[in-house]
Symmetry: C2
Subunit: 259 residues, 2 copies
DNA sequence: CGGTTGCTTGAGATCCATCAATAGGAGTGG
DNA sequence: CCACTCCTATTGATGGATCTCAAGCAACCG
């Protein structure tokens, strides 16, 4: 069954109509700019060889000097930070196609850490190569700025959730957002998707205790709008879930940066 | 009395030793790159004429198509977002020297709003001019990427506060951060500074109710580490306040991006 | 099988929100 | 100079959302 989000198919439909092995980075960036075939092969050529990382492993630790941006090809990862009292806060969630650091700004040392949540296949991208790709094509530049725009907007909306949404609203909002993001890279089937994040990690992501995550998920299940069973998330009423959690897709800028 | 944060004086001390009318943007960017006199006049030349904005006025409303980045010269402003149920969350706080949007990524429409908190003098910067300044000098490019790095790190640390810090910790952390940021642009005298944000706005910033902000401020006052009276914030024990609120200055990258 | 990891449930405590009222201070007009 | 208003800060009382502690259960895996 095809997803209903036809608005996103503008640039990508000719590819999506067949089985598609396109790299998730390209899938996503096609929403940000009208990449040519040439642009896409440039982007593919600058990736370092993919490597596999086990679940719950640090990809970049706080304090180190990073040399390349981790790009997720398969699996889920996160950016997190740990307080002096041991509490962990997950700042961003990364899915296939995501660059784990903003392109163009590698600091002298990491002020946070990046870790995998599931088994992950990732290709590091060296900054110099990314920057030369940017200068080689205005469409690549546009696409990468769009990606940066969207990922900062995602973080901001996350901040709004922590500040002003209740536990069930936070969960509902997260699942609405993931529905769109995963759909962009072809990982939604029907109205559901694989959601391999544990309840403890959801707690660290949403600023809640694991116990409360569990109870709030039960409450969401009781509303009938959605349910999370095992690693499978099912949305029964997308519109209702969006209303419940004050979700407005605008911040994901599906129209492209300068469209 | 000079501030104690001598680490920051590396690039700027020749200027700070005299009364200094330097534009706050330059003051701040000097921490990010070794700007030449030429670079600084390029930066000054791309600013549109300054204009005055009243307190509590929107500078850029959600939904509009922005054409220039607001740059704060004097006064305080914020980025905020409003939920469908009317709740407001302040996402970022802007002080003199701050660009209210990341350089390089102007979207088709604003997914949030920018508003003043006090009377503000601001100079809009048009994106084309900023981009041409970036290509004209690698030091300007470095400085602006550093600024973007720092401002996203500030937002992330804010997110950590909302997720994992208690009310008093959030307030303490905010005041430690502001102490550093204001010091960079010369707005700290002794161990205190002017802090014109109302308690209601602090609530919207930190995800708390106004009442609880008030009580938590009283608790901080009782600790003796700091106090907020009128519009004046006084820090009596910076080290203690940092410990209390798990503040680690690393995320503000005072060493520059590529130092 | 025993160990591990993730999920679930109950009970009690805590942090923080809400509601409601009061007080102070700055500006304004008479 | 006073009366008035608005905005901000303060205080008390109560309830609710969420946390912590603690225990049990289910699935998986070597």
């Amino acid at each position: 069954m095809r997803s209903r989000l036809n608005v996103y198919y503008r640039f990508a439909k000719e590819v999506w109509s067949t089985i598609d092995m396109t790299h998730p980075l390209l899938r996503k960036l096609r929403f940000g700019a009208r990449l040519t075939t040439e642009d896409e092969s440039v982007l593919m050529s600058i990736l370092d060889p993919a490597r596999t990382v086990s679940p719950r492993e640090d990809v970049a630790e706080e304090g180190i000097r990073p040399h390349a941006l981790p790009l997720i090809v398969e699996g889920w990862a996160c950016r997190y930070s740990t307080l002096a009292n041991g509490q962990r806060q997950i700042i961003s969630l990364f899915i296939p196609g995501d660059l784990c650091e903003p392109f163009g700004m590698l600091p002298r040392f990491m002020d946070h850490s990046v870790a995998t949540l599931t088994p992950v296949i990732m290709s590091p991208v060296r900054v110099e190569r990314l920057k030369s790709a940017v200068t080689s094509s205005p469409r690549i530049e546009e696409a990468l700025w769009w990606d940066l725009l969207v990922s900062t907007a995602i973080d901001r909306e996350h901040l709004v959730s922590l500040g002003r949404r209740t536990a069930t609203e936070r969960l509902g909002h997260l699942f609405c957002e993931l529905h769109l993001r995963l759909d962009m890279v072809g990982l939604v089937d029907g109205m559901g998707y694989e959601m391999p994040v544990t309840q403890a990690d959801l707690g660290d992501l949403l600023g809640l205790s694991m116990v409360h995550v569990n109870r709030s998920l039960q409450e969401l299940r009781r509303t009938g709008l959605m349910s999370l069973r095992g690693r499978r998330l099912t949305i029964n009423d997308l519109h209702g879930l969006r209303e419940l959690s004050f979700f407005d897709e605008g911040y994901l800028h599906p129209e492209g940066a300068n469209a």
